[in-house]
Symmetry: C2
Amino acid sequence: VSPPPRPPFNAWGARRPELPPEAADFLRRELDLPGGVRREPVALADVRLGASALPDAARAAFAAAGAEVRDDREARVLRAAGKAYPDLVRMRTGDASEAPDAVVLPPDADAVAAVLAACAEHGVAVVPFGGGTSVVGGVAPERGGFGSVIALDLERLDALRDVDERSLLVSVEGGLRLPELERRLGERGLTLGHFPQSYEYVSVGGAVATRSAGQASTGYGRVDELVDGVRLDAPAGTLDLAARPASAAGPELRELVVGSEGVLGVITRADLRVRPLPPERRYEGFAFASFAEGVEALRRVEQLRAAPDVARLSDEDETRVALAQSAGGPAASVARGYLRARGVAGGCVAICGWEGEADDVARRRARTAALLKAAGAVALGRRPGRSWVRGRYEGPYLRDALLDRGVFVETLETAATWSRLPAVYGAVRGAIAGALGPASLVLCHVSHLYASGASLYFTFLAGEAEDPIAQWRAVKRAATEAIVASGATITHHHAVGRDHAEWLPAEAGALGVLALRALKRELDPAGVMNPGKLLPAG
Amino acid sequence: VSPPPRPPFNAWGARRPELPPEAADFLRRELDLPGGVRREPVALADVRLGASALPDAARAAFAAAGAEVRDDREARVLRAAGKAYPDLVRMRTGDASEAPDAVVLPPDADAVAAVLAACAEHGVAVVPFGGGTSVVGGVAPERGGFGSVIALDLERLDALRDVDERSLLVSVEGGLRLPELERRLGERGLTLGHFPQSYEYVSVGGAVATRSAGQASTGYGRVDELVDGVRLDAPAGTLDLAARPASAAGPELRELVVGSEGVLGVITRADLRVRPLPPERRYEGFAFASFAEGVEALRRVEQLRAAPDVARLSDEDETRVALAQSAGGPAASVARGYLRARGVAGGCVAICGWEGEADDVARRRARTAALLKAAGAVALGRRPGRSWVRGRYEGPYLRDALLDRGVFVETLETAATWSRLPAVYGAVRGAIAGALGPASLVLCHVSHLYASGASLYFTFLAGEAEDPIAQWRAVKRAATEAIVASGATITHHHAVGRDHAEWLPAEAGALGVLALRALKRELDPAGVMNPGKLLPAG
């Protein structure tokens, strides 16, 4: 059995897409970039890495639990960081000084429990590690005052243990990666329908621990809506919540495990709702005269329960950049010409997708399309949909290419009620643009619809500053302060991690933070679990 | 402003429906009842009630917070119990010895906070009190080792504070009753769509605190799916979670407040998702050859996302009793004749309901009906639907009439995955019948559908034993042990209260109970909040 795919330590992908020359020219112009910049990341052999400080007694206890312990360079460097912009900047320059002291690979949930007990006993911090794709510092190997830290890699907890086709429920170990889960489900005609942009690497436990949302979550539901049961192994013991369709038995403990980001324990099993594999997947483009008009149209279809399974609406700038990126291609020029002819030049493009039985897709598609058209949309047909499907996981690969060229590029997301959404959009966009200065691009799309509101996902680019980490910190702070001030959530699907922890009190309140700390004290009395994440310092 | 309607202290309703003679004969025969029993409940003036032990200092602190304090007989006796069978048995015999020492009525959320702080300071237990309709001992005025207990009545927190029509969100104070909320929403063309059988009395805070499900929750969602934001006033402070459509900011604290049953604090505000008031409500009957066939048909429509908003399927015995109860009426005889002719005599009846715009209802109804017919259903038309609508809140009134006649009658509910449902049904039904003996009726229906499973709601009747409380306890234990052993939830929508607390560890696990205790210690350090509920003793 070969280990599951894992991104390189200093990039998202092993392959590096070339920017089309038009796209490179466009960015150079818009971001006022110097020409000819090429930055090569440092190779593994040249990465700076300290000696492992793992105590021998802990090492022996891990081995006694049946876990493999690795402290070779490759193993440690591969778990030294997640995939946020500052992670990549640091790793590209060869700084893995923060790397975990060892990587521990338990064979099953009981071994996880034993490893956690040993960590509590020997004072070793633990970072649960799945696909390692966190973009908020969620897997940063912080020691939290302890002398050492391990990456607890769940890759061997990869079983699909139970498939209940009558109840459309499957029981999955926490380390199983989504593509492999989909492959095994597909053999039985089923799908989880969870496709975050990190899909190629992400593990079930990681998705559950971070309240992940996928590209089709408007239809299939966020991961928190897919979890019916869950097992958390914590230093204090095991919390095993059986799958139940609904219950009124007090506070929903399952909702404490979902989103716990490794600070309470390790998610070793999830019982997930699945669906029949859709025979038909249909994606189409629609154009709107403006972002505001498009948002209104999406609000209407969602509130009339006529939403597509995938619904993504780019704002004017994101639409403009998307068209410019493929400026030379026939698709974009056809689209531009068509849009001009229909009077929506300078407008916004939305991608809508429906999945299911062919007749169901046709029926639902007709209903959504009629409502969108009544709200001013122009149908662009399937070509933009196919183009979106081709590129749906490409964003992070492009980021690698942009980093090579000295471009600062980052994303962040939030969600708010429909009433607040326009103000949140304006405030966050303004804050990011203000922090980056004039030679920057701030792009946004709505990607998830709810009856009471929607998400906003921002992508922003600029020339890399002399201190890119300071640049990143300044933008992050400006954006998050604007989010908090406008009554939106600090994160819609990236989670809190290390980067948002300082703002958790704005979301949960002082008493909410105390409640979470009380839970952590109970489940992790020694405080070894994922230090520095989720909860603010102090 | 007149106070909201409140049930009498010793019954569900002020009115007492007469049992039709055929129904009375049927029950006498089936339950082997002696003829001519008539039990009159004790009048208020004759109820046994101890002196109030509220400390003067606490009384003064409540008054200083702006709350009214009542310790007259009527106020105390009206909050002496909920509406479970043992509550009514006790109150009918005039035993209010457990009654709270005083009833405290704060004017707003800040006064609630001040009252709770005073209770913690002076060692006074607090039972939050809304409509008082708990059927699991949730409002039992237990002192929990303190010298006195108050009923904290929320009736003055009755404002509809904010209506956000764009986001379909409303902000409601915890004491507002559902009928009044629906009246005010109706004026704006909106509805919450939450109609539990206790609808006539229940408060928003009570519904949220108990994870209530209403008769139309298959369509509108359980109350836990309707809450976007919430405020909990606890002795340790205020937890104010703003309405957000979705978030990935850690464990969902809202889900700790929902279902907290008064043991962490008082729900003083809820931000609720509402919908446009449906211009059309259509309810119809369908017959199946057997309960098993009907369950399969409902599973199919739910998993194909074609479920009606209301879906209730009675088993063979519940169907037989429903037809017998109206034996002399033309509707039932028509229905019976029709069913015989179609070959489903001795089968089961389901009520399905759709609500919305007329064309939406027609479209959805056609889809459900086609799928049900393909699964063997016979359409019975609208007459059974109208009959169900007329009687939808009648159950507890009938219980009063049955108690007058010396009938033991109780209900309980659970939920399980579709795979387990048949076994759970058999086990629980057998356990109840076994505990009640041969001269009993055990009726069941499915009332809420989920992709992964459904609820089961049991109603059971027998002749009242010499010690009806002991009889009740024996049946409750037998049923709950069967539920736990078969992997179902201890409660689908009645909550844990006092009656199920002993079985919470079977649902939440030992570590789950410790986690809840840790939360309680943080939010209610003195332990004054609703003693004896939710958490098991010890």
